[in-house]
């Protein structure tokens, strides 16, 4: 009986013995921590000119932690007329103070009325907690309408109008609009806000696409030489005339490559998630995506759900990245060439993050590709895929990737068999 387990174990060992793999994983893991870490790196100076006291220096980390520990004054409040007007009033105080002070550091560190802002640091307000609410509302209604006559009803009407305009922009069919309308009804309005909306889960959602690129890069570095190495080491002849040198060897290499890519993906995503949640806290788990990230998004979803959807999708994408790299390496028959082709493809995905929406099928398909998914609009592509029922982009993408992986694996097998015999 063929010993597939031993074949797989040794193929895995060959991969893990490559120093390049470990160096790449270490560098990429360190690099993926940088975006969430950057928000806590550095210092904030509170000017003695403003304070009239000794110069005080806080690290950003200290500020974030202080903010996390601060009683969440807005926790559980409804995003309604009262809250919107409070936010507008509070930000007017900040703006006035900033203008009186000559500007330069508006909305960051201002001496202002601690009671109005609700949150202070040694007597000084750091980005008042109304800021996120003000910013979200302003992004929907526009700055001209940010007056104390704005009502909650007017805000939600503007959100609905934005949503409808978005659907027009995506070119949704009537069926898709009806599906989204059904979802939108499940969103409870007025929204219940969380006191600390911009924390670790939000950071995870915002950093996930970078992690996806790093996972792709890791697969390129780790796997582009997996098949060509036999030719380079002149061990291909031994495999070519061995009984299991065809499909079983291909399957063992493929499985070893998938294992390494998946494990590398888990390490990179795990490091990113840990950095986000440790440094910025998990307190925003229940924050609705409509509170801060996407006011007009048409389905009920929290930022934790969003972050987990993205991380899950990108972990799945690690497998398609691996199959793609291995197929390219079989096609090009050279590790360096394969690396160049795959890297070029990755750059293409980064730069051409969307196709014109008029080309509905092509642009939707492009947006679902594993290197593009989440680049343009996180997961907020409202176009649905109709297979029996409707699937959202984050439901359809993994299915597409599975089909692509199977097709590429089949192509790889044919190329492996062809390469073994000239």
């Amino acid at each position: 009986m063929a010993d597939f387990g031993t074949l797989y174990r040794f193929e895995l060992k060959k991969l893990l013995q490559r120093k390049m793999l470990w160096i790449a994983l270490a560098i990429l893991t360190a690099a993926v921590i940088l975006p969430p870490a950057s928000s806590v790196i550095g210092k904030m100076y509170i000017s003695s000119e403003v304070t009239g006291q000794e110069l005080q220096v806080y690290t950003h980390y200290e500020l974030v932690q202080r903010r996390r520990q601060d009683p969440a004054g807005l926790e559980g409040r409804k995003l309604d007329t009262d809250l919107i007007r409070e936010a507008i009033g509070a930000m007017d105080v900040i703006r006035r103070t900033d203008e009186a002070d000559g500007g330069g550091a508006a909305f960051t560190v201002r001496q202002t009325d601690p009671d109005a802002m609700g949150w202070t640091l040694d007597g000084y307000t750091i980005q008042g907690e109304y800021w996120d609410i003000w910013d979200t509302v302003e992004s929907v209604v526009g700055q001209e309408d940010m007056t104390d006559s704005l009502t909650g009803e007017a805000y939600y009407a503007a959100v609905d109008a934005d949503r409808a305009a978005g659907y027009d922009g995506w070119g949704l069919s009537e069926g898709e609009r009806a599906w989204w309308a059904e979802q939108s009804e499940k969103i409870e309005t007025p929204l219940t806000v969380t006191g600390y909306p911009n924390g670790g889960w939000t950071a995870m959602a915002e950093t996930a696409y970078v992690a996806n690129l790093f996972i792709f890069l890791f697969a390129i570095i780790a796997l582009s030489g997996l098949f060509p190495m036999e030719r380079q080491r002149r061990t291909d002849a031994l495999a070519a005339c061995a009984r299991n040198g065809g499909t079983p060897l291909y399957a063992a290499k493929l499985l070893a490559g998938l294992t390494v890519s998946f494990a590398g993906g888990a390490v990179i995503l795990g490091a990113m998630a840990a950095a986000c949640l440790i440094l910025q806290g998990p307190e925003d788990a229940a924050t609705a995506v409509q509170q801060l990230i996407a006011p007009a998004f048409g389905a009920p979803m929290t930022v934790r759900q969003l972050a987990l959807i993205l991380c899950g999708a990108y972990l799945a994408a690690s497998l398609i990245h691996a199959v793609f790299v291995m197929a390219v390496s079989l096609l090009t028959r050279g590790g360096t060439t394969a690396m160049a082709v795959c890297f070029g493809t990755m750059m293409l995905f980064i730069m051409v993050y969307s196709l014109p929406r008029d080309w509905r099928a092509a642009s939707q398909l492009w947006s679902l590709l594993p290197g593009v998914f989440g680049n343009n609009s996180i997961v907020f592509d409202d176009r649905l895929v109709h297979i029996g029922g409707y699937l959202t982009c984050w439901q359809a993408a993994p299915l597409l990737w599975l089909a692509m992986a199977l097709a590429l694996a089949g192509l790889g097998l044919a190329l492996h068999r062809r390469t073994a015999k000239k």
Binding site: M1, A2, D3, F4, G5, T6, L7, F10, K13, K14, Q17, Q232, R233, R234, T235, A237, L238, A239, A240, C241, A242, R243, N244, G245, L249, A420, K421, K422
Partner: protein, 234 residues
Amino acid sequence: MELVIDRLSKQFQNKIAVDRVSLRLGPGVTGLLGANGAGKTTLMRLICGILKPTAGSVTFDGKEAESESFRAVLGYLPQDFGYYPDFTGLDFLRYMAALKGLGKAQGRRKSEEIMYTVGLKEVCGRKIKTYSGGMRQRLGIAQALLNDPKLLILDEPTAGLDPKERVRFREMIADLGRDSVVLLSTHIVSDVEHIADRVLIMRSGQIVHDGAWDRHEDLERFYLSLCGEEADHG
């Protein structure tokens, strides 16, 4: 037990590397002599099913060279092949055993046995990158023997061996020839002289001599008379 090669040809673009070779080989050691570029390695790769012939066929006891059953009885030592430098000798053999379709327990047992046979038992746990050229060559032979091959194709097996190892090797190959069809390619005439029951001489892709060899005759002189300048260059 018979290897049948029928009008086998291989053409690379404008060059005919193997030209309508027909042979029948039975148990015993057959030596294949020829200068570099005569087509020996191409012929061996065709026999092993690594290269696809332009024309002709190779069968062993009726099994075609591309079939799994052919590969199950084949042992091949390529002329120029690499190893996995960070594998231990034993790991390499266990990997090759799995490639050859041996079960886990059988592969482990056979690998240990063969390490002993080729005199590498003491160093089986060391990484291959620490092995000498001769030790690597012995490891190459060891992998070819893992599946108890009935057809053993050895391409320049004594290259890189010191005189003492070469003698030991010849004896091992002669032993193997009792129960298997062994085709041994070399350009070192004395190797063939000592162990081959039958000698093939190849020139420009063709077999120019095929016959038993009287060990009292001077094979080198005969070979030079047939291959002349080509052999000098080889």
